[in-house]
């Protein structure tokens, strides 16, 4: 196993980082928080599209850059570092993988074309309030009719759901034959942006009321086992990307906390010289290295299509959750009153890290997955 980046990967990461430092400084995130983003939102996304990042893991034959999930994951980590208020996670880490994993070549051409050529925003709607991301318990229903499939239900926590052009909806067949995936144009649904603790990463409720999906927009027919596996594989990619982005965010909190512990003096010396602080900073570092190593491992199992990918993704997301719990808590605690202030930028990262744990399955949910995979739970 080799976790070191290749020269190309290092260049990619460095260039993504420097672009985001330039284009998305904390002032831009603050504007998102304070509702002053205006055209910035679109501008950031245009920059991302011009640099072809949405095409990163799309095969060259489909007009993409032909790199793999490892590279996508590296960008996701940088997105987390910069807490970017742009629809990268939805479009690039959710929509594009779902299209590639589930749809036919002619569908791919159309769906990817809108993103790669026109800079459209796409997203995936899986979660529901009653079942989270556990697809075995979802209640949104797909019913077969003569004209196609009809969808009914309400999806929640849909990334950029109010801004997307196309929403890929995962629903369960009414005859319980299994799950399917359906490409739905945004004007066929009611998307409502939700007021959020972290407004830099917009989420929406998506209501589907008798939405008719013609056959050519069905990506996976319920009952198609291979297609269902594709949906799960796409969900794994989205989940791993969130884990990667969380470690990026946590790294920023950690670096800031470490610097503060060196700079802030009390009792005549830096607070970082006290063992009570020192050892807890080391515990934060260990949690971060644990999460980051497992996130890279998960990304590699996806990139190389290793049979361990499913459990690796759950381990990565669980470890990212454990990591944020410690880093958010001690990060804020060690910054003292300063960290408690709206005017400081720290809370952007604290909130993004916290919300990361709760989206795409919490640490507890993914530990339950691990336990299930080990045969320890039903």
């Amino acid at each position: 196993m080799d976790f070191e980046l290749s020269e190309e990967q290092e260049q990619l990461r460095d260039s993504v980082r420097s672009v985001l430092e330039r284009e998305c400084p904390p002032a831009v995130v603050r504007a998102a928080y304070e509702g002053r983003l205006d055209g910035e939102h679109d501008r950031l996304w245009r920059v991302i599209c011009e640099l072809d990042w949405p095409a990163i893991a799309v095969p060259e034959s489909m007009g993409g850059l032909g790199m793999g999930f490892a590279e996508l994951a590296l960008i996701a980590e940088e997105m987390g570092r910069a807490v970017v208020p742009a629809p990268f996670m939805s479009t690039v880490a959710q929509f594009v993988p779902m299209v590639l994993e589930t749809s036919l070549p002619e569908q791919q051409k159309i769906l990817l074309g809108t993103v790669l050529d026109q800079g459209a925003i796409g997203t995936v709607a899986i979660a529901e309030k009653g079942s989270g991301w556990d697809m075995s318990r979802m209640s949104t229903e797909a019913r077969r009719t003569r004209d196609g499939w009809v969808l009914n239900g309400t999806k929640s926590f849909v990334f950029d759901g109010a801004d997307a052009t196309t929403i890929l909806v995962v629903a369960r067949a009414s005859d319980d034959e299994g799950i399917g995936a359906f490409a739905v144009p945004s004007d066929a649904v009611t998307s409502t942006a939700v007021k959020l603790l972290d407004p830099s990463q917009p989420l929406a409720d998506v209501e589907l009321r008798n939405v008719l999906v013609p056959d050519d927009a069905v990506l996976v027919e319920p009952g198609d086992q291979k297609g269902a596996a594709g949906i799960r594989r796409a969900l794994e990619q989205a989940t791993a990307a969130v884990a990667m982005s969380m470690t990026g965010t946590c790294r920023v909190i950690f670096d800031s906390t470490l610097q503060y512990a060196k700079d802030r003096e009390q009792f005549g010396k830096p607070i970082g010289s006290f063992q009570a602080i020192k050892h807890r900073l080391v515990n934060m570092l260990i949690a971060l290295e644990r999460a980051s190593s497992l996130a890279y491992f998960a990304a590699l199992t996806i990139a190389e299509d290793d049979p361990r990918r499913s459990i690796a993704v759950s381990m990565a997301k669980a470890a990212a959750g454990d990591c944020q719990r410690l880093i958010v808590q001690d990060g804020l605690q060690f910054h003292g009153g300063i960290g408690y202030m709206w005017e400081q930028d720290l809370h952007f990262y604290l909130k993004r890290a916290k919300s990361g744990d709760l989206l795409f399955g919490s640490a507890a949910a993914h530990k339950a997955n691990v336990a299930r995979a080990l045969g320890l739970a039903a």
Partner: protein
């Protein structure tokens, strides 16, 4: 980034696995003549070490005349993985092979290499490491065993403690104070002392479990006289060696920790379903999550190890090894604790006597609770977890000293 090694590394692995199959001592042989401590060389161990030395499999990274084959760092890593997987002790004298011999090769005179280092590598002699004292544990530099240079000889007086394998060792790699006036880090030297020298008294210290196999000892030195040429390296420059010695020990220790963790977690995951079948559903969920945590720690230890190793290969910083030492040893302790709690009260039944922990062929019969107590040896020795945290805080994170 990738999950696999180059073909050439895999060929190296296959060659070693085949050699192991043909040459390793059998488990029966090892059990019939158990190592009594980490200084004891049973007949099979002497033969085994010699065979590895002759065939270049003892320390593959070294040149053939020192028992190696100039293997690359990645090949050394693969070697350690397979050695641990084969469940054969690489040596029954880990501190000799892992610390004393390499330190002598780095700092010793030609004569010391001939008379002390090479005999360790050929399985002829064993060594113990005289570091800790009653008043100098984590604060090793405050050690007070005193060596006075008197013409062409040293006269040594003092006491060592927690000296692994001392009662069976042939000689001691002894840290002593040679300049009491200098600042504490600057007055320490290393001297080789044959354990048979008059004035050396060893008293074994039975341990928290398996007291019939004491590995730790007190070593008392009363007017012990050794020739001046037994000084290793430069007078009063021993502290550099203390750091160097432990660096040898920490270098790739994570590999064996990681494989042992793999072994332990497989055993736990194998046995847990039947134990969990006896408890309520709520309890089962609570315990299953803790096993999942231990499983995640095991995977993380492996990934963190490889990641640190990758950095090391590309010339990155070594202090990150301290992080692995702390994490992996605590993960092992935690895993044993979880396993003991999952097993329930039956875990309290005592295990049949086993050979000593340091040379243990992993024994299915060792109870998890005994294993749990034994793992404290990992979090206390060779720099307690708290010392590792200080090292990481100061050398990796750049925090000021307290």
């Amino acid at each position: 980034m990738r999950l696999t090694f180059d073909d050439s590394v895999e060929r190296f692995r296959a060659e070693f696995v085949a050699w192991l199959a043909d040459n390793r001592p059998s488990e029966e042989e090892i059990r019939a003549d158990p190592a009594l401590s980490s200084g004891h060389l049973p007949v099979w161990a002497k033969r085994w070490t010699r065979r590895m030395f002759d065939d270049g499999w003892l320390v593959p990274g070294w040149p053939p005349e020192r028992g190696g084959r100039n293997a690359s760092p990645t090949e050394q890593l693969v070697y350690l993985e397979e050695m641990e997987r084969a469940r054969v002790p690489r040596t029954t004298n880990p501190q000799g092979l892992g610390i004393v011999a390499p330190s002598l090769l780095d700092y010793g005179s030609q004569e010391q290499i001939e008379n002390y280092a090479l005999p360790i590598l050929r399985g002829e002699k064993s060594a113990c490491l005289g570091m800790s004292e009653p008043g100098a544990g984590s604060d090793l530099a405050s050690l007070s065993t005193r060596a006075v240079l008197d013409g062409d000889r040293f006269v040594i007086n003092g006491q060592k403690v927690w000296t692994s394998g001392a009662r069976h060792s042939d000689f001691c790699f002894l840290f002593c104070r040679t300049d009491p006036e200098a600042p504490k880090h600057k007055g320490i030297s290393v001297i080789l002392v044959d354990m048979e020298t008059p004035g050396m008294t060893v008293r074994p210290l039975p341990e928290i479990v398996a007291p019939e196999y004491p590995d730790l000892n007190e070593v008392f030195l009363t007017d012990v006289v050794v020739p001046k040429q037994n000084l290793v390296g430069t007078l009063n420059d021993g502290w550099a060696m203390a750091n160097g010695s432990l660096a040898h020990e920490r270098g790739m220790v994570w590999v064996s920790s990681s494989i042992v963790l793999d072994d332990d977690i497989s055993r736990l995951v194998r046995d847990a379903p039947s134990w969990l079948g006896r408890v309520s559903e709520a309890e089962r969920h609570a315990l299953a999550e803790r096993i999942a945590d231990a499983y995640i720690d095991t995977a993380a230890a492996r990934c963190m190890g490889y990641r640190g190793f990758g950095k090391l290969l590309r010339g990155g910083s070594a202090p990150e090894q301290a992080l692995m030492k702390a994490f992996a040893s605590e993960a092992r302790r935690n895993l044993a604790m979880v396993a003991a709690e999952v097993q329930g009260p039956e875990v309290l039944e005592a295990s049949p006597p086993a050979v000593h922990a340091t040379t243990l062929v992993p024994d299915e019969n060792t109870s998890w609770i005994e294993q749990y107590f034994r793992t404290f040896a990992l979090t206390i020795s060779a720099g307690a977890s708290e010392i590792q945290r200080n090292i990481i805080a100061e050398r990796v994170l750049g925090l000021p000293r307290s």
